[in-house]
Amino acid sequence: MKKFLSIALILVLILGCFAACGKKADTGDSTVKESAAPENTASGETIKIGIIGCHTGEYAQYGLGVKNGASLYIDQLNANGGINGKKVEIVAYDNKGDNQEAINAFNRAVDEGITALIGDVLTGNTIAVVGVAYPLNMPMITASATAEAVTYDKDTNTVYSNVFRTCFIDPFQGEKMAKYASEKLGAKTAAIIYETGNDYAVGVKDAFIATCKEVGINVVDEEGYASGDVDFKSQLTTIASKKPDVVFCPNYYEDDALIISQARQVGLKATFLGADGMSGVKDYASAEELEGTYYCSGYAPGSTDAIKNFEAAYTEKYGASTLNMFAATAYDAAMVLCNALQIAEDKGLKAGTDEYKQAVIDAIRNNSADLECITSKGYTFDEHNNPVKDAVIMKLEGGKEVYVETF
């Protein structure tokens, strides 16, 4: 009886806990507006753009990086007189990383009269927002959502023509590395070793092979391995027997390190190439094994003068804690968007109208190639609205991952 009583008591306590939790979640009302307009202008007219993202919660790092990076550019632009004398006004909302909140935030921003959007931040949130933004033909640029589905629906073969991004999607890195191998490393033959069950690795690998065909690299061998494998010597021995110039290794850094160390064990001396999943590999294999390995990435801190200036300005204003790759791509997103706004303004259109939005979309697509952005010398977009842009090439030298060039 005593036992029964104590169990019952515990159950009641546990239920109490849950109830309390539930309530708490509810009280976090709807979206809260965060930043107001810059103190307004002589003409009184502003161009409103939205910035929506997860500014609180687990992924706040990304959301705040995007918000601050984009705001930094817009503030600089406004300080220099804005667009034809009009200030750009930021309407920022936090979506707390939640899909429904993201849609609410977007709708509220639309009610306030935004004419374009920078965001969303997380892939899931962005797809949710695209669902409501596409029917409105609202120009939007995400700085961080990498999934293919953000700009293109495979099932219905629809390209969301209003949606752009300034971060590259994963497979694009395969294309970059194939071109780099051909143009800069003079590779004629390549082999590949990749994790078969990993969408990232498979996507990058497929793009690499497709580009190899275009640039005239002969792919002599393609070896797979299952997730969790640690022994790659057999595959690498096969690769070594075919003597490729480069070995493409689009996996995550722990596997890459094991692969490269074992490659040296079986006497495979080819240059290894990787994608951004390789970042961090220096801590997992010895310096001499890794020496001369290349990988590409979207961003390298302190790499170019433009990046250095950006980082200094960002740190001064917002501190370094949220300074990440997406802060830089958001700065670019703001630059691309404001350039398009400028073109729409020059046409004398009225902000918020359908013609204006279409003009902005067209300008993003057609007039971004010559911009001096910080992560890329300009942007062009492919048929699925994915950016064709520069990548940062990193090289392993003396146990360090050093910046080589922007390619």
């Binding site: 969790g228 640690v230 021995t237 096969t238 390190a257 010895s286």
Partner: protein, 292 residues
């Protein structure tokens, strides 16, 4: 042809690590009829000890190797004393479940202490690689194969030609009678665990030379494959465990070499199923006739 030789050497290299670990399984099974599923995790502990010794205490690789093997040995004996000895007269099922429990305990402890990610174990041994007939054979592969063969020779000598070995064989044949004959069963069982764990320690060092990363779950798959090797060779039989280890290593290398690397694990476990169906006693195991 030379490619085939390289692949065979790859297979022998991983096979000798499997063989060393399979020996531990087989010895313990032979003596107390326990499938010691914590055996694979002892390897993981060995790898972390080597890593700690070199990275955090800046010891020389030689000391680190000795320390790792010693820790494995002590750990194996401790596990036997603390977890298995009190259960020696309970049903075998309790022992088996305890072994699985110990395995999880070690894995999760490692995860709490060292984190879930892997750590790089620096180079433990280095030396010149061989080039035979234009075929590259790494120093690690040579050392791995030689060290395991030497270990096996020493083990065979210990079991066949020493008093302790005789006691081990006696206890594995009939524990009760052995006790009546004046053999200290507790000491013999502890010795068996010490021997098996020391082999696991050597295995963990060789493993770290080939795959220089330590992670909390590294021992589980390695342990399972060594277990398959032990069953293939005939569990309880020492030459069987060695043979089984080499067979599994070679099978993996061949499967990968023909381009089916993704099916490597599948093939290993398919071997287990086939052995269990058609020859449950393994290649060298003696059939046990049930006493009525």
């Amino acid at each position: 042809m030379s490619l085939l030789i390289s692949q065979l050497i790859n297979g022998l290299q991983s096979g000798s690590i499997y063989a060393l670990i399979a020996l531990g399984y087989s010895m313990v099974y032979g003596i107390i009829m326990l499938l010691n599923f914590a055996h694979g995790d002892i390897i993981m502990v060995g790898a972390y000890v080597a890593w700690l010794a070199i990275i955090h205490f800046a010891l020389s690789p030689f000391v680190a190797i000795a320390l790792a093997i010693l820790t494995c040995t002590v750990l194996g004996v401790t596990i036997e004393k603390v977890a298995y000895a009190p259960l020696r007269s309970s049903p075998r099922r309790s022992l088996l479940i305890t072994a699985i429990g110990i395995s999880f305990l070690l894995e999760n402890l490692a995860q709490i202490i060292f984190g879930a990610g892997s750590q790089r174990v620096p180079k433990l041994i280095s030396g010149p690689s061989l080039n035979i007939a234009n075929q590259h054979i790494s120093f690690t592969a040579i050392v791995t194969i030689i060290v395991s063969v030497i270990s096996m020779v020493i083990l065979t000598f210990l079991v066949q030609n020493t008093k302790m070995g005789k006691a081990m064989r006696a206890v594995s044949e009939d524990m009760g009678t052995a006790q009546l004959m004046g053999i200290n069963v507790n000491r013999t069982v502890s010795f068996t665990f010490a021997l098996g764990s020391a082999l696991a320690g050597i295995g963990s060092i060789l493993y770290c030379c080939a795959y220089p990363q330590a992670s909390p779950t590294m021992g589980s798959m390695l342990g399972l494959k060594a277990f398959v090797a032990a069953v293939l060779g005939g569990i309880g039989s020492l030459p069987g465990a060695m043979l089984g280890g080499f067979c599994i290593g070679l099978a993996e290398a061949i499967v990968s070499a023909v381009g089916l690397s993704v099916w490597k694990d599948g093939v290993v476990f398919a071997i287990l199923i086939v052995v269990l169906i058609f020859k449950p006693t393994g290649i060298l195991g003696k059939p046990v006739s049930e006493k009525v």
